[in-house]
């Protein structure tokens, strides 16, 4: 069901996406803050990670969604990328728990990002570390 903002408008919107509430890579941010002292360089890295997340999230959804729904899904994302109703759309078409597999994908990504901080010979069970 679509509700209309009949009386109130947003004057300048925040750039939220329908899956933002499922993402928590706080410890990666902490590492970046620890090792990248220049604020502008930090913000560029934040943006790069954001781009990676977008591709990984949409990719893991497309992996599971039947092909005949792909265009419809992408149209939803194109029209209302902020709208958590996109998750409801997916829940109606997927047997798997959509929120859970997005969280899992981000957990895997978190471990991959963690590897970028650790020198190869020092990397042992970093991937087992809780990133949240």
């Amino acid at each position: 069901m679509i509700k209309w903002a009949s009386c109130g408008i947003l004057i300048q919107e925040m750039s939220r996406l329908f899956y933002d509430h499922l993402i928590n890579l706080s410890k990666i941010e902490k590492l970046i803050k620890k090792h990248v002292k220049d604020s502008e360089a930090r913000y560029e890295i934040y943006r790069l990670i954001d781009e990676i997340i977008h591709h990984r999230v949409i990719g893991c959804i497309l992996d599971r969604l039947p092909k005949h729904h792909h265009k419809d899904f992408l149209n939803h994302v194109h029209k209302k990328p902020h709208d958590t109703g996109v998750l409801d759309y997916l829940k109606e078409r997927l047997a798997e728990d959509v929120e859970e597999f997005i969280r899992q994908e981000i957990y895997l990504l978190g471990n991959e990002l963690l590897e970028l901080f650790v020198k190869p010979h020092e990397y042992d069970n970093a991937h087992k570390h809780n990133l949240h």
Binding site: K3, W4, K30, H55, H78, L116, V118
Partner: protein, 319 residues
């Protein structure tokens, strides 16, 4: 030993290059795995890497048009009674004794006005909150001030570390003394440590000698907001950077109604942390106590052109 404590690559340029490479690999991997979807994305003009900007543009355009379907979740839009009715209900009502304290009135009002889920507030909600907050706390607050608006006024705040105020500043210099806030619980105030890097506006002063009492107060009561994600942040420099520097905001813990006036002194957190704001150790200690690390808050600008409103706790509940 925790992986987070291992020796790590400390060259920021090398780290940036590695993450850039990963970003490119992720994009090309997506395109080769989902060729048809990638082709369709090009047709409709959606660049996944710029989805956040796309979202911001759509919503801003919707706001300009004046009425737009924003969210489809059933509870995502609150249809509030007119602000006057809310003020009458929560601020001016005469209760039978014992009268409700202003803190309880504020908590009750927030419960009714704020949506169940964290999301950007619409203009009506913000207007109503401005009136309620001003009536109950006495602080003139605005969601939008001089045409500027944060990317959200309702979200999660996370605890930050102390910021270096001048070259050579150390954590021990941040231990509160005398009648300063937290002097009776200094361990709580310094346990978060010192941020390794500088805030978005660099040092507060060029030297220890140049550090004024006002700057000490600003670092003590500092806030972090996501200026880096404002849609026009890059195109409106240096105006925006100057405008936001040390700009006063009121932060209200929506769970307990505690409020503090803070000054913006850093940009963040990253959008992928689940947080929208940050608060200094002192801000967080006042808002929620020594164990408070994260929680929902509202953040409004303080309309204080003559700089008369002091930073720190808003003791609006005192009789």
């Amino acid at each position: 030993m925790s992986a987070l404590n291992k020796k790590v690559i400390v060259d920021p340029e090398e780290l940036r290059a590695k993450i850039k490479l990963k970003s490119i690999q992720t994009k090309t991997g997506f395109e080769s795995k989902h060729t048809e979807a990638s082709k369709y994305l090009k047709e409709i003009g959606l660049d996944l890497g710029k989805m956040r900007e796309h979202s911001a543009k759509l919503l801003t355009a919707g706001a300009i048009v004046g009425s737009v379907a924003l969210f489809s979740a059933p509870n995502s839009l609150a249809f509030l009674p007119p602000p006057n009715e809310i003020i009458e209900k929560y601020v001016n009502s005469v209760e039978s004794p014992p009268a409700l304290s202003r803190a309880i009135k504020l908590r009750n009002a927030l419960k009714d006005i704020l949506p169940g889920l964290l999301r950007p507030l619409n203009r009506d909600e913000e207007k109503t909150l401005e009136k309620v907050l001003q009536e109950l706390t006495g602080v003139p607050v605005r969601a939008a001030l001089e045409g500027e608006h944060l990317n959200t006024t309702y979200g999660k705040i996370g605890i930050e570390q102390h910021l270096r105020r001048y070259p050579g500043d150390t954590l021990s210099n941040h231990i509160p003394k005398g009648d300063e806030y937290g002097a009776d619980k200094s361990d709580e105030i310094i346990k978060e440590g010192m941020a390794p890097g500088l805030g978005a506006w660099g040092y507060f002063a060029p030297s220890k000698e140049a550090l004024t009492p006002n700057l000490i107060e600003i670092e003590r009561w500092y806030a972090v907001v996501q200026t880096l994600y404002l849609p026009n942040w890059n195109s409106r420099q240096p105006y925006l950077k100057d405008w936001y520097k040390y700009r006063k905001v009121m932060i209200v813990n929506t769970k307990n109604g505690k409020a503090v006036i803070a000054a913006i002194a850093d940009s963040g957190p990253a959008v992928w942390t689940g947080k929208h704001f940050g608060g200094s150790p002192e801000v967080m200690n006042y808002l929620g106590g020594p164990k408070y690390k994260k929680g929902p808050v509202i953040v409004f600008f303080v309309d204080d052109p003559e700089n008369k409103i002091p930073l720190g706790p808003v003791e609006y509940n005192e009789v």
